[in-house]
Amino acid sequence: MHHQDSTRRQFLGLAGGAAVLGAVPIVTLRPAEATPAMLATAIRNVVGEAEVRTGKVKLDVPPLVENGNTVPLTVSVASPMTSRDYVKSIHIFNEKNPQPNIGNFHLGPHAGRAQVSTRIRLADSQKVVAIARLSDDSFWSASVDVVVTLAACTEEVI
């Protein structure tokens, strides 16, 4: 991962040299160091000391993404979605972006189906984790390992 980062920076630096001729500001990516510990803390902020079991949750993310800027994601939870047994919320996390949170989605029994789709950003190849909170306050999770390649030709932005 670090080697890829420095390659991209070197490339952008060279491209920046060319861009200076046109006096266009270059935007470079220098993310803060994200760690698996941040992921664990973010998860703990949601679940507290409760146990998180695997199961019930299905996380659909392409294993190899076309572009890390826009990654389609669908998360669904197997649940009857009745007033006594439903999904309260779904929380999505990542491992290596500058920040561990991606989104929290709050549902209710009237949702009919506990399924949400969105598009996310992934800065690097990493794990994406989805945790669902059910009406009985139990937590269930699923995770996916996603491979993210950088675009071949970057360009100056702004």
Binding site: P25, I26, V27, T28, A32, A111, R113, T118, R119, I158
Partner: protein, 106 residues
Amino acid sequence: MPSALINVPAKARRGDIVEIKTLMSHIMETGYRHLASGEAVPRDIITSFSCRYNDTEIFRADLYPAIAANPFITFFTTATESGTFEFEWIGDNGFSETASASITVE
């Protein structure tokens, strides 16, 4: 002039589970990008999205910089009665947009 693209079925039968698709125009600037000078480009994202169905909130999302630009969010709800869906997006720098769509439930 931000545009929102909403897709809600115009008609449904009572009890049907319908999918609602939303797309809102927004740069979702992460706050982690930097100019060559070293200054950070300040964060500018939508932080919250909600949907009310005949005045009852049926869905809410907290969004972070990891949500891609032009946020696309889809979710489901049970069609209970005819009426209106009201959508609201709130974000940094006082961003506030609304949209609505109607449904006829028979």
